[in-house]
């Protein structure tokens, strides 16, 4: 019975941190704040699903949470590539002395 209370408290903390992350995503002055907010929100989702599984007595949800962790980074990588190269289809740098394109300045 006591472990149920621990799960409930953990769930409340996760929900609270979801709310805090959302505040950062809403207000975040720079775009990198928002990228970080989305990435950490994905992590919160993984934790949420894992704790929800134990809370409802279905620990098999743990596998689903792991799958979420695997797909979590795709969006973040796409956004960062867009900022670095200005183009999603860019092949990346081929040699070290090739200069970066000029549009890599930090967006506001």
């Amino acid at each position: 019975m006591k472990i149920e209370i621990a799960y409930a408290i953990t769930m409340c903390v996760i929900l609270l941190s979801m709310a805090l992350t959302l505040v950062r995503a809403f207000r975040g002055p720079s775009l990198y704040d928002r990228i970080l907010a989305v990435n950490s929100f994905g992590t919160m989702t993984v934790l949420f699903i894992a704790v929800l599984g134990f809370l409802e007595g279905r620990p098999a949800f743990m596998d689903v949470a792991l799958m979420y962790a695997l797909i979590n980074f795709i969006g973040t990588i796409a956004v960062l590539k867009y900022f670095k190269f200005g183009d999603l289809a860019h092949a990346g740098r081929t040699s070290k002395d090739e200069a970066l394109p000029s549009n890599t300045s930090l967006p506001s």
């Binding site: 775009l31 994905g42 919160m44 949420f48 689903v64 797909i71 969006g75 867009y82």
Partner: protein, 184 residues
């Protein structure tokens, strides 16, 4: 506890939606749309719809972000500030929302045992599908439903997925790379 989690998640969802409408920076909008999808996935998880939740997270937060960014490369980063429009769109949205909610009035409550799906066929699937004397055989009910009771549906799905895979391979040019090197 589940009710409390649902209330918190729905509140966050509404806050995200309002912020999504008010933002003018398109990259921030894409980021918030990803968060919206993740929140929806959490809500689906609390309703035990694990597969729906996973599709929502993979497509909504993963693929759509990439597609939207691809569109952003073409159209620029800032949304035009619209002039003062008429109230017509708001009225249309409100009427549509009302009609949709009115349409759910006839549906049974979530998880209700009186729902048609719990009275119609499920008992037969659970009781008669498995076992050596069963109608299908495998111990797993879901396997029986997918492979036998709904076999034609599954065959159609497999055909669709196969066609999609072949199309993607043709678009990406898998298998043509070596020929091109020979030609050059």
């Amino acid at each position: 506890m589940i009710v409390f989690i649902d209330i918190v998640l729905l509140t966050l969802l509404v806050a995200t939606a309002i912020s999504l409408v008010r933002l003018r920076n398109l990259i921030a909008t894409i980021m918030l749309a990803g968060i919206f999808s993740l929140l929806s996935a959490c809500l689906f998880m609390t309703m035990d719809a694990v597969d729906v939740a996973f599709t929502e997270a993979a497509v909504g937060a993963g693929l759509t972000t990439v597609l939207m960014l691809g569109a952003l490369v073409l159209i620029g980063r800032e949304e035009k500030v619209p002039g003062k429009g008429s109230a017509l769109p708001l009225v249309v949205v409100l009427i549509t929302g009302f009609v949709l909610i009115y349409g759910t009035m006839d549906m049974p409550y979530f998880g209700s045992p009186d729902a048609p799906i719990h009275q119609h066929l499920v008992d037969r699937y659970v009781e008669k599908s498995g076992g050596p004397d069963g109608e299908v055989g495998p111990p797993n009910v879901v396997t029986s439903v997918l492979a036998s009771y709904r076999g034609y549906d599954t065959m159609g799905e497999v055909a669709v997925i196969f066609t999609a895979a072949v199309s993607v391979m043709l678009l990406l040019g898998v298998g043509f790379a070596t020929k091109r090197e020979d030609a050059s």
